[in-house]
């Protein structure tokens, strides 16, 4: 009972401090909102309007038609025009364009042969190379892999619009049906992920800073000589931030639904549950950091040390499956990785905590273990 009173006293005091600190209080609301709008609009993995150059060595009616139909895909935007491939290469080097399309002088001829090849396909499987040469060449600045692979997709661009002839593509080997994000909008995947990023940042930073601040300002010297225990102090201090975290999650998912049309397919209870799990894990992480950091500045630095891998390795930006095994191991340790899976599962696929047992248990285990570590490390003395 006395213990409960002491925890409430700390929580109440912490709430007042939080509310009177205008900047921090503003951060609680503005940070998720601004980041949501920024990331939601800015991060787009489907690339469009890549600036490219054209080297049209044919300059025939057909080549013009070809250029128009490439433009029509909206993948590229022809911003420059050169006479030789060398000039185009220089433009790529200079960063004026990302790629260049070179149309050889015999393009009409090549295309005609291609059509013949296509019509013979059924009867003669091994047709000559000369009959099936590509009709043009892309030279690409391959350093950005996303842009390179986007342009690679143009390799098999259908050419139905070019002539009256049927599509010169072979039939697809597989059919693909896309669930959960049929229009392939990046925001659908990004928005639930932002919850993970924002919570990682605010939860870890706020708790570690708020505890280190007491140390720095000398409040702790007084508190230590009172009957309050370290575990009571820690619990009392993190309770307000649980609500802060839930509010932030609500803002992001709600605004994401409103502005980016992100569906909320799962139940709100499941959403609450996975968020609470992650908040607990992050708060505990903040507590551990606060036992390492001596100043608020150090607490910030340690938070950023954890932030970057949480953004880059958690699957927020790049798929987990694409990472090398070593990176996957690191990712597995981070609570953010497990939360990314959980919240995307709940929000987008109507998954539940039981169905994604591994990730839920991991967060739970992390919290318990972390709390033990933090309370051992948090000594109630000045030594």
């Amino acid at each position: 009972m006395k213990m409960l009173n002491r925890i409430t006293a700390v929580t109440y005091k912490e709430c007042i401090e939080l509310m009177r600190d205008r900047v921090t209080f503003g951060m609680v609301v503005m940070l998720p909102l601004v980041q949501l709008l920024l990331f939601g609009y800015a991060i787009n993995t489907t690339v469009r309007d890549i600036p490219v150059a054209i080297v049209d060595q044919a300059s025939t009616a057909f080549s013009h038609l070809l250029i128009d139909s490439v433009s029509a895909t909206q993948v590229v935007n022809f911003t420059e025009s050169y006479f030789t491939p060398e000039e185009a290469m220089q433009a790529i080097t200079d960063g004026k364009v990302r790629a260049a399309l070179i149309i050889p002088s015999d393009v009409t001829n090549r295309y005609a042969k291609k059509l013949v090849a296509a019509s013979q396909q059924g009867e003669t499987p091994q047709f000559e190379y000369s009959l099936n040469r590509p009709i043009g060449q892309w030279i690409v600045d391959g350093s950005d892999t996303t842009i390179a692979s986007t342009i690679k997709q143009l390799r098999n661009m259908p050419m139905i619009n070019l002539t009256d002839y049927p599509k010169n593509q072979t039939a697809a080997t597989f059919e693909v049906v896309q669930f959960y994000n049929p229009e392939q909008r990046s925001a659908v995947n990004i928005v639930p992920g932002i919850v993970g990023i924002i919570l990682t940042m605010t939860m870890i930073m706020f708790t570690s800073i708020s505890i280190v601040r007491e140390q720095e300002k000398g409040n702790l010297e007084l508190l230590i000589t009172t009957p309050i225990r370290s575990i009571e102090l820690m619990i009392g201090k993190i309770i307000p931030y649980i609500f802060v975290g839930l509010v932030q999650m609500g803002i992001i998912i709600g605004a994401g639904h409103l502005f980016f049309n992100v569906p909320i397919n799962g139940s709100l209870w499941q959403l609450l549950l996975v968020t609470l799990l992650f908040i607990a894990a992050s708060l505990v992480l903040g507590l551990i950091l606060s036992t390492i950091a001596k100043t608020q500045m150090q607490a910030m630095q340690l938070t950023f040390f954890l932030m970057l891998p949480s953004i880059l390795l958690s699957g927020f930006m790049f798929p987990y499956e694409g990472m090398p095994v070593a990176a996957q191991w690191i990712a597995e340790v981070l609570p953010a990785t497990h939360f990314m899976r959980l919240i995307r599962g709940v929000v987008l696929r109507d998954a539940n905590v039981m169905g994604m047992m591994n990730d839920s248990l991991w967060l739970l285990g992390f919290t318990i273990l972390g709390l033990i570590v933090a309370s051992i490390r948090f000594k109630k003395s000045l030594d």
Binding site: K13, G218, E221, S381, D383
Partner: protein, 309 residues
């Protein structure tokens, strides 16, 4: 129950190679005001932290209110109050909120809380400012608030670390009136200071320097047993005379005080006035020289002086 509130034997604390408190032996009697007097960096705060259980001693034993530290430190928490040298309440909270927080932490029930807080607000003349944030209070107001917080749970033993460093002389008097009131209720107070006039008000005191105990006892006793004689020298050209006197072996210190030089002379000189005249006859003949009662400052200067950075 021991007659002493605090007993420390061979108390030593090191920070790395540096010895901040060196083999301190002190006994603080119950119900008295006990002072720690010493220059900056002499280890006053460190000693108080050792006695409150905030720091663990490197060596030595501490017994506070019949409890052995650091073993029984938790039991001690409810019985002591500590006012830190640096203001350590919450600047974002108002006076009232700060006091309520402390009251809750010490487990006072709602009714007792309200009563005690009202009482403290009026004793320390803070009731008109109860809604003001602690961060915006003046130095003296902060000090009163801190004392109110430290005494909220009526501790048997109160530690005050330089409580009046930001307080004007008038308020310092009032502050000390409050301390004697608290002392009157049977509480023991340990107060650190570097002001002589404050030290003189203590029932007894310890003079610390460079982590060591240089002298202890009541102020009167310390002045009597100083082991040095004090003379005042008047006249012209005191700056030059000071240079000359400082060179003499039996002169402990020379300090100018307005139109006088205050000279501390070792006790083995039985006739200090005659001796002084004999040392530098050409300068001393016409001056008036008189023997005066030693002050606490003289005691302090006499027993410190090796110094520390």
């Amino acid at each position: 129950m021991s007659e002493y509130a605090i007993q420390a034997k061979g108390l030593t604390r090191k920070f790395g190679d540096f010895t901040a408190v060196d083999n301190l032996n002190i006994n603080v009697p119950r119900g008295k005001i006990y002072g720690f007097l010493g220059p900056n960096g002499c280890g006053k705060s460190t000693s108080i932290r050792l006695l409150t259980g905030l720091l663990t001693p490197t060596q030595g034993s501490v017994n506070v209110l019949d409890l052995d530290l650091p073993k029984q430190v938790e039991a001690l928490r409810l019985r002591i109050g500590y006012m830190t040298q640096k203001f350590s309440l919450y600047e974002q909270l108002s006076i009232e909120e700060n006091l309520r927080f402390i009251a809750q932490v010490f487990g006072l029930d709602r009714h007792a809380q309200r009563k005690r807080i009202e009482e403290l607000l009026s004793v320390y003349e803070l009731d008109k400012r109860r809604k003001q944030r602690a961060g915006s209070l003046s130095g003296g107001q902060k000090q009163r608030l801190a004392l109110a917080a430290a005494t909220l749970h009526k501790p048997e033993l109160l530690f005050l670390d330089e409580p009046t460093s930001a307080v004007d002389p008038q308020n310092r008097r009032e502050f000390w009136e409050r301390l004697f009131d608290i002392c009157d209720t049977g509480s023991t107070i340990l107060v650190s200071t570097h002001y002589m006039d404050e030290a003189e008000r203590c029932h007894s005191l310890a003079i610390l320097e460079a982590g060591c105990l240089r002298a202890d006892g009541t102020p009167q006793q310390l002045m009597q047993d100083m082991g040095a004689k004090v003379v005042e020298v008047g006249g012209e050209g005191l700056r030059q005379l000071k240079e000359v006197l400082t060179q003499l072996d039996s002169v402990i210190s020379v300090a100018q005080q307005g139109v006088h030089l205050r000279v501390l002379i070792k006790d083995l000189i039985t006739e200090p006035i005659a001796w002084l005249r004999a040392q530098v006859p050409e300068q001393m003949n016409t001056r008036d020289i008189k023997l005066v009662r030693p002050s606490l400052e003289d005691v302090f200067v006499n027993c410190t002086g090796e110094g520390r950075q």
